[in-house]
């Protein structure tokens, strides 16, 4: 059950341009990887909450990873230990972990947040996973790659070649081969997700789940603001906040998403 909490910032760590916050909600939280919380930013002039994927959780504490891109995220990044945040969540539909033992996770940039939570969940279930993470350059996310490498089987790609493999993370996954995977899970920029979806065949697309982003107002399915195009025959639109943020590859109309 989602709820509204006054959550206290109990830990704060910086990884390059990302700030990881641990939030104490005061009650046991039941959340799935891929779900998000809707966070109020008490900054003058900002009227909407900001959605953030859960990057992990333990008991009554939930974690998020915030990248500073504008006024709201800047305010969140500057929040201090002991500060209270007004959050709603966990919201939306998370990843469903398919049967089978081999799982491929692909993250682009900040898309790492839900993937970290998912990798942790898979590991606890005793499943085998490989996490492919692509970024522009190593410095962008500080020592996060090193830390993740300790937690899971990480294949790291940088566009500028500053660490890991040089190049694009989708190519890295495709080169490794997707045929034998029981589940493909992806989160990242639109361009990366469409490139991935369009290089899969019918069968592998069915095995793909993507975590989507869209601008949000309500976060609970009431305003119809946060939609993505649904695939035929359904057509029309699905809401990211309630029908998603996680969708099966075949639920979405990738042609219309590419635009």
């Amino acid at each position: 059950m989602p709820g509204r909490y006054k959550a206290e910032v109990v830990a704060r760590r910086r990884f390059g341009t990302l700030v990881e916050l641990a939030l104490e909600t005061g009650s046991a939280i039941d959340a799935e990887p891929g779900q998000f919380i809707h966070v109020r930013c008490d900054k003058e002039g900002l009227i909407l909450r900001r959605p953030y994927s859960l990057s992990g959780m333990a008991g009554s504490v939930v974690n998020i990873m915030v990248r500073e891109v504008g006024a709201g995220s800047a305010w969140l990044c500057a929040s201090e230990i002991g500060q209270e945040l007004d959050i709603m969540g966990p919201l939306g539909r998370g990843f469903s972990i398919d049967g089978g033992s081999r799982h491929g996770l692909v993250a682009g940039g900040t898309g790492i947040a839900p993937m970290r939570f998912l990798a942790d969940r898979l590991r606890r279930l005793g499943l085998e996973e490989t996490l492919y993470w692509g970024v522009e350059g190593e410095a962008e996310y500080g020592g996060l790659a090193l830390e993740l490498a300790k937690e899971c089987d990480l294949l790291f790609a940088t566009m500028d070649g500053s660490a890991g493999e040089k190049g694009n993370v989708v190519d890295m996954l495709l080169d490794a081969g997707v045929e034998g995977l029981d589940g493909i899970y992806a989160c990242g920029p639109r361009g990366m997700l469409t490139a991935l979806a369009e290089s899969l065949n019918d069968e592998t697309l069915a095995a793909m789940q993507v975590c989507m982003e869209e601008r949000m107002a309500c976060g609970v399915g009431a305003c119809r603001g946060c939609v993505v195009p649904a695939s035929p025959p359904r057509r029309g639109y699905l809401t990211v906040c309630r029908d998603g943020p996680v969708f099966r590859g075949r639920e979405l109309d990738w042609e219309r998403i590419r635009g």
């Binding site: 002039g45 009227i47 909407l48 601008r215 107002a217 309500c218 399915g221 603001g225 939609v227 639109y237």
Partner: protein, 311 residues
Amino acid sequence: MGEDKRINLEVELSGIRLRNPLLVCSGTYGNGREYAEWVDLEMLGGLMTKSVTLEPCAGNPPPRLWETPCGMLNSIGLENAGLESFLAGELPWLSALPLPIWVNVAGFSQREYVVVASEISRSGMADAIELNISCPNVKKGGIHFSSDPREAADLVEKVRKVVEIPLYVKLTPRCGDIVEMARAVAAAGADGISLINTFPAMAVDVETARPRLANNTGGLSGPAIHPIAVLLVWEVARALDLPVIGMGGIWSWRDAVELMMVGADAVAVGTLNFSDPAAPLGIIGGMLDFLKRKGIDSAAALVDMAHREGG
């Protein structure tokens, strides 16, 4: 708490009794269900549904939202599942609540408005209709029903004939003469006026020179439009003797009281619900404290106060 009992929050609009003057705006509370697990809906004064159209409507392509300083733009484009689904699923659920329901009706031709409004009225499950006339008339090349008073009055007259419950007409703030518009729809048979819908607006990303919304333009809501709502409610309430539901950027109990003082008989919270779904209840609490502090014994006594004081 004993004291509270002496303060009467009830208001009456067109014979409909509201336990307090706080409603929620069309399109900002879904059809109630989305917020049922967050808020005790029965504590609201009333609920205005998302716009219902005859056929299912897919709405505009995304992105549909953009935040602006103290406001937001939306171009949802009336996305809804259509009349049939609304009558089968949403309205029965809503009407089971002990809560007055204004069903918001929209259309792309006069006929569509007439059919939807008459079916809603006939269903016996709605307390009132709120007619959203800020829609393009496809048959007339897309000019809006709210574009001129004759067009609006013509529509209201046709809808009036088929509706047996109170008919409220929701006006756009982008209007040459709001009083003339309100008079025209009143003469055509409206029982009440809702003020205001979003204000047409636009934003562009200068890095790419592309509009922020896929639809290019949208409607501005939130605190940025509140003073416009205050002015228009003031003008309409002064000129007409019809109930008015005031809305537009209500962000606190003060804004709600302000709209009542300029003539709103009830008020509706919109965009604020997105960041605080329980905001209408908080506003009721704030209003009650205010009435106590001022020694005013009813919410209804706030209505028109500024007209009496300001002349």
